[in-house]
């Protein structure tokens, strides 16, 4: 190997390499830059709200922009009901499915089931909303004998179902990480398989299950199209159990439905950005909480956070 050949190669190599490595570094911090950028933009377009609309107006119970009622409470409550309901429903179902896959199902069932859950993760939300609207809502209307099938309840069911791949995936990881020695100890003591799961494995995976719950919440709160198509879009503050079976409106649906019609720079425009900012902050908080619970698990769950 001649030295001059080597030298030539080295010079051009270092120059190009330097550029490439710089580009890689820039890409690395891109995530931080983008999050900050998004946050700043939401603030930029959202804060004029507080100059144009008094706080009492924002915390009112009437959302009717055409007549300049900008009460956010119905929207926030709508989102809360649907989100918490979905998380509460999806957690036991997802956990049960994960247990089923891990402990009960024979191998051939498992091999069919897992790809199918991935299929579920891939179905676009607009398709689920479509079917929910055309098929599921009428079913509910008839079955429960209520005026319309487009209700918070319908939204909860569909959202819970959509959050399942995330919850199942995290729950699976949780069940996996409980050491085999725990189970063996329980079986050696004469416990049935179910007792081992219920008394040993699940309590051991407590923090992971909590994280699954939070990720499910995060998933549900950000869902837009499905809720827009099945929750009826009536901006009323839900009170009492009966309203659970009535239409509601979420923050996400509000933005999606009304943004197309607002004049740029109008109070309505700014308020919608404020709603967006609220969503950003809520999901930020939920995600930080979930991340702090079990940092390691998030990587795999991110893939499913669709």
């Amino acid at each position: 190997m001649t030295n001059e050949h080597e030298g030539q190669q080295k010079r051009s190599l270092s120059w190009l390499e330097f550029l490439i490595e710089r580009a890689i570094q820039v890409s690395g911090i891109s995530a931080i830059v983008l999050v900050i950028l998004i946050f700043l933009f939401l603030i930029k377009e959202g804060t004029p709200t507080f100059l144009e609309i008094p706080l009492s107006g924002l915390f009112a119970t009437r959302w009717y922009p055409i007549e300049e009622y900008y009460g956010l409470l119905p929207l926030i409550m709508g989102s809360l009901i649907v989100t918490i309901g979905a998380a509460v429903v999806s957690l036991p179902l997802g956990l049960a499915t994960a247990i089923f896959i891990a402990e009960i199902a024979p191998a051939w069932v498992r091999d069919i089931l897992k790809p199918f859950i991935e299929v579920l993760a891939g179905i676009p939300s607009v398709v689920i909303g479509f079917i929910g609207m055309l098929v599921f809502a009428p079913l509910i209307r008839v079955a429960l004998n209520i005026p319309t099938g487009l209700t918070a309840f319908t939204g909860v069911l569909l959202l819970a179902w959509m959050a399942l791949p995330t919850v199942v995936s995290v729950a699976e990881d949780v069940l996996d990480t409980v050491p085999k020695t725990y189970r063996d100890a329980g079986l050696a003591l004469g416990m049935t398989r179910w007792q081992v799961i219920w008394r040993i494995v699940l309590p051991a995976g407590r923090s992971g299950i909590l994280m699954a719950l939070m990720l499910g919440v995060g998933r549900a709160i950000g869902e837009t199209m499905t809720v827009m198509m099945v929750t009826g879009n009536a901006a009323r503050v839900p009170v009492g159990l009966r309203d659970f079976f009535m239409p509601v409106r979420t923050m996400t649906a509000t933005i999606a439905a009304e943004m197309g019609e607002v004049a740029h720079g109008s109070p309505h425009y700014h308020v919608l950005f404020t709603v967006g900012l609220t969503l950003f902050v809520i999901t930020f908080a939920v995600n930080m909480a979930a991340a702090s619970v079990v940092f390691r698990q998030v990587k795999r769950a991110e893939r499913m956070l669709s």
Binding site: I24, S30, L42, A96, T97, F130, I131, M133, L279, E302
Partner: protein, 289 residues
């Protein structure tokens, strides 16, 4: 007063009941998947024809084909890839091969988690505010691609990083001991070995972007645009948005066409899923580490 004793279930019976409930739950979870896909196929298959896929719509969308929507979705998917793939893979390489264990790296990871959790409609707002209005791109494929691209970034970064980390450390050691620089090692050994995993992740990320509606609502989508886009500054139709509009805002829309549109979207998206799985399985068999 003593509480009456409840009948004790034997442990075996408890297990049977519990397992039965769990199986029921799993069934409740999985059965609807079959149902939804099956029902859409059942109702929509009759609408699918060569004309449906290649003609332009007319009569206020109530007849004709989906060509502009299909082409629009293809363009947006391509645009998303252009934005998200280079930056995403670059960031993944940074995290896997260059980043040290310090505060900056932790901040990057936190940012990625948060980016992944932002609601899609908030991305739409951001896209509207920054690309459409502030940078004056207007509602365009450019604005839509940038918005979708940023939204897809976390997924690509995560899966690409995982693929890179899976490559055995010993390969890197050998390459360096033979006089390789860090970048040479990445380019010649690590990246090629991680490529199947990276490609799988990219396809899954793009699959998600193709099916999204909220981010394109205000940044690119048009409803009735019976011509194909000619530049990236054009608006375009898109399949998810199209489905949304025809099912909620067009009175008298034939249900057959609605289901047909849903079916086309479903096929588009799920075939990407299948492609990604095939690639992943094929290369998993081939590698020896």
């Amino acid at each position: 007063m003593m509480r009456p004793k409840l009948p004790q279930l034997s442990r075996q019976n408890s297990q049977r009941i519990a397992f039965a409930l769990i199986t029921l739950a799993a069934f409740v979870v999985v059965a609807p998947i079959f149902f939804i896909v099956g029902y859409i196929v059942y109702e929509g298959a009759s609408a699918i024809s060569w004309e449906f896929l290649t003609a332009y719509p007319y009569d206020g969308m109530k007849a004709g084909g989906l060509l502009p929507a299909i082409v629009g979705t293809l363009w947006l998917t391509f645009g998303t890839a252009v934005v998200a793939v280079p930056i995403g893979i670059g960031a993944a390489i940074y995290l896997s091969e260059y980043a040290k264990d310090n505060a900056l790296t932790r901040a990057i990871r936190v940012a990625i988690i948060n980016l992944a959790g932002i609601p899609s409609v908030v991305f739409g707002l951001f896209g509207l505010g920054l690309f459409v209005i502030f940078l004056n791109f207007g509602t365009s494929i450019l604005a839509g691609s940038l918005t979708l691209g940023i939204m897809t970034l976390p997924v690509i970064i995560s899966t690409a990083e995982e693929a890179l980390r899976a490559v055995p450390q010993s390969f890197r050691l050998v390459s360096v001991s033979l006089g390789g620089t860090r970048w040479q090692t990445i380019r010649r050994v690590v990246l090629p070995q991680a490529l199947p995993g990276i490609i799988t992740g990219v396809i899954l990320g793009l699959e998600r972007a193709a099916g999204e509606t909220a981010p394109i609502l205000f940044t690119v989508a048009a409803f009735f645009l019976p011509r194909l886009p000619t530049s990236m500054f054009d608006q375009t139709m898109a399949l998810p948005y199209h489905l949304f509009v025809i099912s909620t805002q067009v009175p008298g829309m034939p249900e057959r066409i609605q289901y047909g549109t849903a079916l086309v979207l479903l096929i588009f998206v799920l075939s990407m899923n299948v492609l990604a799985t095939l690639i992943r399985n094929h290369y998993r068999k081939q590698r020896f580490w």
